[in-house]
């Protein structure tokens, strides 16, 4: 497969006077899978539709395979797109849906038949050729949409929240299937979602968007472990947020005086002295009654609330100064489970803290 890269250079789009996308710069390497992640209205879908050619940018340039594509209509872009709710043609059979792109490309009938059959095998839909979409389950429709988008061997594959309509189990299963298929085919893929788990599961790289702009782009672990803003850390997963004031650089890193008066040193962080900052700490980094307290930042507290989720348990702990901290414990590791009202010691590594400007 000759995968092509996609590049956006200062792309912007307004709806009337409302800016939907405000100067997006993004490079997607050939064969890479990138997620556009953000809340509804952040411009992710508009960005995807501009790559598809369904919307025309008001400013900036879209390049596919290194050449400007702004003026190329969608039907000449050689893309494959999987829509929200799949957009399967309701009056055509499964085989006709999948073969549609090949018919439009005027391929010989015999070739269409073989390629449709191959595509159906690839997504495990054999035997359903003559069904119509309304006779299929959600997962099967999803597979038809995927096969229809892939059978034309597009340069770029685009997904617009395609899994939103599926229940959780099926969604997780489809995420893995899509990822495996994407790797196997090696196609450049851009995936729009508002679901952080989906972005983490599927992507080589996650692009977080807010109000029409990219706020951070990076590998899933970069985005999760080293978020650069409250928005990103809050959007991806759960967090402990500790507000304070930067008081200068110390031996252990940036010194931050918390609202309660305690001073913490955050390694590899920087902020102007006197500025309001926020320290972010993921709940799973917080150990409860750590056996080895040496080298950890410690806090004493009392268990105020317990959320048992089967595989893990979340403890809400009220610490000195009245703040509540969230700690995640994996169950089945032989750790004694604290009970409501127990006094506990929380401990975490200084390096697990991330510091950025307070929102």
């Amino acid at each position: 497969m000759n995968a092509k890269g996609v590049a956006l250079l200062g792309v912007a789009k307004w709806y009337g006077k409302v800016p939907a996308v405000q100067g997006v710069d993004l490079e997607v390497a050939p064969g890479e899978m990138v997620s556009l992640l953000g809340p509804s209205g952040c411009g992710k879908t508009t960005t995807l539709r501009m790559i598809a050619g369904l919307e025309v940018p008001d400013a900036g340039e879209i390049r596919i395979g290194g050449t400007r594509a702004n003026e190329v209509p969608p039907w000449r872009r050689n893309i494959g797109m999987v829509f929200q709710n799949y957009a399967l043609f309701p009056h055509k059979t499964v085989a006709e849906n999948i073969g549609y792109g090949l018919v439009m490309r005027r391929r010989p009938r015999a070739e269409i038949a073989t390629r449709v059959a191959d595509a159906m095998r690839q997504v495990r839909l054999e035997g359903l050729e003559d069904r119509i979409p309304s006779q299929l389950s959600g997962g099967q429709r999803q597979r038809v949409a995927l096969a229809r988008a892939l059978v034309t061997r597009p340069d770029v594959l685009l997904f617009d929240e395609p899994l939103a309509a599926l229940d959780r189990k099926l969604r997780e299963q489809m995420q893995v299937e899509i990822r495996l298929l994407q790797r196997e085919v090696g196609i450049t893929t851009i995936f729009v979602t508002h679901d952080q788990d989906e972005a983490l599961t599927l992507s080589d790289r996650i692009v977080v968007m807010e109000e029409g702009r990219i706020v951070q782009a990076g590998t899933p672990d970069e985005i999760y472990e080293r978020p650069r803003s409250h928005f990103v850390s809050d959007f991806i997963g759960m967090m402990n947020a500790m507000r304070g004031t930067a008081t200068g650089q110390g031996a252990g890193g940036l010194l931050v005086r918390l609202a309660g008066g305690r001073e913490l040193a955050v390694p590899e962080a920087a902020a102007a002295t006197g500025s309001a900052v926020e320290i972010m700490l993921r709940p799973e980094k917080v150990q409860v009654n750590p056996p080895q307290a040496e080298g950890l930042v410690l806090a004493q507290g009392r268990v105020a609330h317990i959320v048992y989720l089967g595989a893990v348990t979340y403890l809400h702990v009220t610490v000195e100064g009245g703040a509540t901290m969230l700690a995640m414990q994996a169950n089945g590791q032989g750790m004694p489970a604290p009970r409501l009202g127990d006094a506990v010691t929380l401990g975490w590594r200084a390096a697990d803290m991330v510091c950025f400007a307070a929102p």
């Binding site: 369904l54 039907w75 050689n78 957009a87 399967l88 009056h91 685009l158």
Partner: protein, 260 residues
């Protein structure tokens, strides 16, 4: 229980009232007597055969059929395009335009008739086939716009966009995806249009003349000097034709949906 029975009786009376003309006309067509009479005397098909000996009626029927066909054809194209513009695009004056398209539905036919005659007369389009076609287009267009735009509301934009991303030009996307999905609306619109045009009286009355008659007006003229069962025979054929058309539409696309 009594309330229910009362309602049942009421419905029966209304149905009877609505069906009465049909119940009278159809048997009258099969009578042997020379005058239009109910109940008919004897049984015969001679009045159906007699239609063939009334060239004025035959010519008028041919005119009406041709007018209905052309007016329907034009309305399908114009109506579909209009429905598209009205449904798919937001533009200033859209509401006003939609009201304009629907106006012939609520306008008193006689006012419309006078207005159309006043416009067409100076153009020499009275007692003219194309004048009648134009007038009928005005009358039937709202029905086509209505049925097509009702169906278009069910056609998801995403289907058309999916076609575009799969390599279909807008025109090929329209013919391969949108048009087949619009078929129920088009069939229903065409059926209404044909029936309404064929049956149109008030407006046609202002536009017909010697040499260019439509069937309803020719039947009216005929009734003025002879009230024989030929009219009943013609009416019977019209009832059969209309019923068959409506049943066919109901079978293929479901007429009920067009009124929901």
């Amino acid at each position: 229980m009594t309330a229910r029975r009362l309602l049942g009786a009421y419905v029966a009376v209304v149905m009877l009232f609505l069906a009465l003309p049909i119940a009278v006309v159809i048997p009258s067509a099969f009578g042997e007597g020379n005058a239009l009479a109910f109940p008919p005397q004897g049984f015969s098909l001679k009045w159906f055969a007699a239609i063939l000996e009334r060239p004025a009626l035959l010519a008028a029927a041919a005119n009406s059929a041709a007018i209905a066909a052309v007016a329907t054809g034009v309305s399908l194209v114009v109506g579909t395009l209009s429905a598209f513009a009205l449904r798919r695009y937001a533009f200033p004056g859209r509401g006003a335009l939609m009201a304009l398209f629907m106006a012939p539905l609520v306008f008193p036919a006689i006012v419309l008739a006078a207005a159309i005659a006043m416009v067409l007369a100076p153009m020499g389009l009275v007692r003219n086939f194309w004048g009648l076609v134009l007038a009928h287009i005005v009358v039937v267009l709202p029905y086509v716009v209505r049925t097509v735009s009702a169906t278009l509301a069910e056609v998801d934009r995403a289907w058309e966009e999916a076609a575009l991303t799969l390599g279909a030009s807008p025109w090929r996307g329209f013919t391969s995806v949108t048009l087949p999905l619009l078929r129920p609306g088009l069939v229903a619109g065409a059926t209404f249009s044909l029936i309404i045009s064929f049956d149109e009286f008030t407006i046609s009355l202002f536009l017909v003349g010697s040499g260019m008659m439509t069937l309803p007006i020719e039947m009216y003229n005929y009734a003025e000097y002879s009230l024989d069962p030929v009219l009943a025979a013609v009416s019977t054929l019209l009832i059969l034709l209309t019923t068959a058309a409506v049943l066919a539409v109901e079978r293929t696309v479901g007429l009920g949906k067009q009124f929901s």
